[in-house]
């Protein structure tokens, strides 16, 4: 997993609420057995018409946001399925950070496992950043994970909360499994105790 430290980039405005995982990556692209290559199909049904031509007014098809690395989105981003293809597709497109007032639980967790930082900010901060996002490259946004701030183009900084463990893993690009396997002895002893207490499991 790639580390995430700081990022200054173009943000794409997506004010729609409840952007769900079927919108992020429709199910016809879940048939892959790989993690990569999904970026071209990110937001597929909003981005292309039936013949596969780009829909000109979709934000990521407009020249100003083709290189967006940040999304500023409406409430409850990533609701719906557990498909990790959603963060894989975002990452493959080049999105490293999504900012919203709220995220669906599973999507939020999945982001951290893939080097994407999801940032929760209050509505007024989102409004401010959405205005920046609408200006494309004229108003780049800076995200600093270590300092836990998002800084708008005019220098206004917004602080956000992040779980310390998730932050640590993301800052250092750490693999969860490796960390957990260091606790193998604790798992062994839990299993031994549980086998006594609940042998039917």
């Amino acid at each position: 997993m790639d580390k995430f430290t700081t990022l200054t980039g173009i943000a794409a405005p997506m004010p729609l609420v409840n952007i769900d995982t079927d919108m992020i990556i429709p199910k016809q692209f879940l048939k892959t057995i790989k993690r990569t290559g999904l970026g071209v199909n990110l937001f597929d049904e909003m981005r292309y018409d039936r013949e596969g031509n780009e829909i000109a007014d979709f934000v990521l098809n407009q020249p100003a946001w083709r290189d967006a690395e940040i999304l500023v989105a409406g409430d409850n981003f990533g609701c719906g399925s557990s498909r990790e293809h959603a963060p894989w597709a975002l990452l493959d497109f080049g999105i490293r950070c999504v900012i919203s007032t709220s995220f669906a639980d599973i999507f939020y967790n999945n982001c951290f496992k893939n080097g994407i930082l999801p940032v929760v900010l209050p509505q007024d901060a989102i409004d401010h950043l959405m205005d920046d996002a609408r200006k494309g490259a004229n108003a780049r946004i800076t995200v600093d994970l270590d300092a836990q701030t998002v800084t708008a183009a005019d220098g206004t900084a917004f602080s956000f909360d992040v779980d310390p463990f998730k932050k640590h893993c993301l800052l250092n690009g750490l693999d969860d499994i490796g960390l957990t396997l260091e606790k193998a002895a604790a798992i062994d002893s839990y299993e031994a105790t549980a086998a006594q207490a609940r042998p039917w499991v």
Binding site: Q28, R83, D105, T180, A186
Partner: protein, 473 residues
């Protein structure tokens, strides 16, 4: 002691392997269910790192999302290229790592959330995970069950644990008795209508109250299934005599002395009277009507007696979302919901693909036919549900009415395989998601109960099943 514990607290506490200072826990996982779509990359990861499956005995694999539901599917030639690749990958992974496996050729194959309870893999007080958000279904047994992403699938395969922070406790109480014609699906949709799709975010919901107690295990699974649509991490219902009766004698349920020991523990699995709740929602069962969704979010719920709302009747970001929904769904504000004509009916999914659901639909369809121009498919949730429905004569009712009688799988719930809606085709569906494109590109989904879907099938438009049933009395 400071206050009592909720059911969630109790199950959680029984599964903590390690707790870090900041409260991050390593939680032990009792059952890991695996399907073909969200697991290939996880097994690939294991192989690349030279790791093994820690507890193959607690790991169960079944293909469901992408399996064809038409005859002859055991033959890979009859699958699309990518279905074939995913199916072959699951097959190899299940055999290489020695996990329990129900391939399509096995009569026990079906939707993972139907197979788990059916085979007795899901038991009260367990932690159950699957790379699928509707894992919440298993909460009906008083098991802590939730969906995980593929990285977490890999983590559970390798360590049989999950890194978790505890969620908050939310109580959803449904008081009183349900009126006739109102079902578990109407309860669960009404709760989402009341709380919104983010209403449960950060919480585990425990459903309780008389109306929940009165539900069968099938109905309880329907309720918990959609906890995720309300944004919750999981849904739970405390186990009781109905739960124990359902579980008893299932192939993987405990037997003899083990059964007695299990039962003794299971009976302690309920929230204490003085437990702390972070959020409480109460609905009166008498106020719940048969409902349908009109939009493209499961929170877009209205009683069937209602009319299509105007976008301006909402506030904030929902105005734009509602307008987008109306455009997508091709609906005009003010029109009666019962005037919405449909093209297709889908009966199935892990929400409503169990025997009780098929009985409810068949009850309405008996002696009736699909309205002209409407196509219908029934996809049983498992091979065993299918066999039972055939034995009870339900399959005959469906085929007599003009429905296609399919093999078990997810099918048109998510339309990964060829079971899809055509653009602008409108479907009365017993599934759980009405997202844009969910059942097929530009397809239009209205969620409802099996009885309501059957009523719509007969009339060709959304219909209050109570009117249809009244007609025949």
């Amino acid at each position: 002691m400071t206050g009592g514990k909720t059911l969630y607290d109790k199950i959680w506490d029984a599964h903590v392997v390690h707790e870090a200072e900041d409260g991050t826990c390593l939680l032990y996982i009792d059952r890991h269910l695996v399907h073909e779509v969200t697991s290939p990359q996880a097994f690939e990861g294991l192989r690349m790192a030279g790791r093994t499956v820690r507890a193959p005995d607690k790991t169960i694999a079944v293909p469901d999302h992408n399996v064809p539901t038409t005859a002859g599917r055991e033959n890979p030639e009859n699958m699309t290229e990518d279905s074939r690749i995913q199916m072959a990958a699951l097959d190899t992974n299940a055999r290489d790592f020695g996990i329990h496996y129900y391939p399509v050729s096995d009569v026990r194959q079906g939707i993972v959330h139907i197979v788990g309870p059916e085979q007795g893999w899901t038991l009260p007080g367990m932690t159950v995970v699957c790379g699928d958000s509707h894992t919440a279904t298993h909460g009906a047994f008083g098991a802590l069950a939730h969906g995980i992403g593929t990285s977490e699938v890999e983590h559970v395969l390798a360590t049989q644990t999950l890194i978790q922070k505890k969620s908050k406790n939310m109580k959803v109480e449904i008081t009183g008795k349900l009126p006739p014609g109102v079902t578990a699906k109407d309860i669960t949709l009404s709760v989402i209508g009341a709380t919104g799709t983010a209403g449960g975010t950060g919480h585990v919901i425990e459903y309780c109250g008389e109306a929940i107690r009165e539900l069968s295990m099938e109905g309880r699974m329907t309720v918990c299934n959609m906890a995720i649509e309300g944004g919750a991490r999981a849904g739970l219902i405390a186990p009781d005599e109905k739960t124990f009766a359902y579980v008893k004698g299932r192939p993987h349920a405990p037997k003899g002395a083990a059964w007695e020991a299990a039962l003794a523990w299971w009976k302690t699995l309920k929230s204490d009277d003085d437990a702390h709740w972070d959020k409480v929602v109460t609905l009166k069962a008498e106020d719940i009507a048969p409902v349908v969704t009109w939009g493209t979010s499961p929170e877009d719920v209205l009683p069937i007696t209602g009319t299509v709302p105007a976008a301006e009747s909402f506030s904030g970001g929902k105005v734009g979302a509602a307008q987008r929904s109306l455009d997508y769904m091709g609906l005009t504000p003010g029109m009666k919901l019962t005037d919405i004509r449909i093209d297709a009916v889908f009966i199935g999914s892990c929400t409503n693909g169990r025997i009780e659901d098929l009985r409810a639909a068949a009850e309405v369809l008996k002696g009736r036919k699909l309205a002209p121009g409407v196509r219908g498919i029934v996809v049983p949730g498992s091979g065993l549900v299918r066999a039972q429905a055939e034995e009870e004569g339900l399959a005959q009712v469906f085929t007599d009415a003009g429905f296609e009688w399919r093999l078990a799988g997810c099918s048109m719930c998510l339309g990964m395989n060829p079971d899809q809606l055509a653009p602008e085709e409108r479907c009365a569906s017993t599934s759980n998601r009405n997202f844009e494109g969910r059942q097929g590109y530009k397809g239009r989904t209205h969620l409802m109960s099996p009885a309501m879907a059957a009523a719509a099938a007969v009339t060709g438009h959304l219909t209050d099943v109570r009117d249809l049933v009244a007609e025949t009395v």
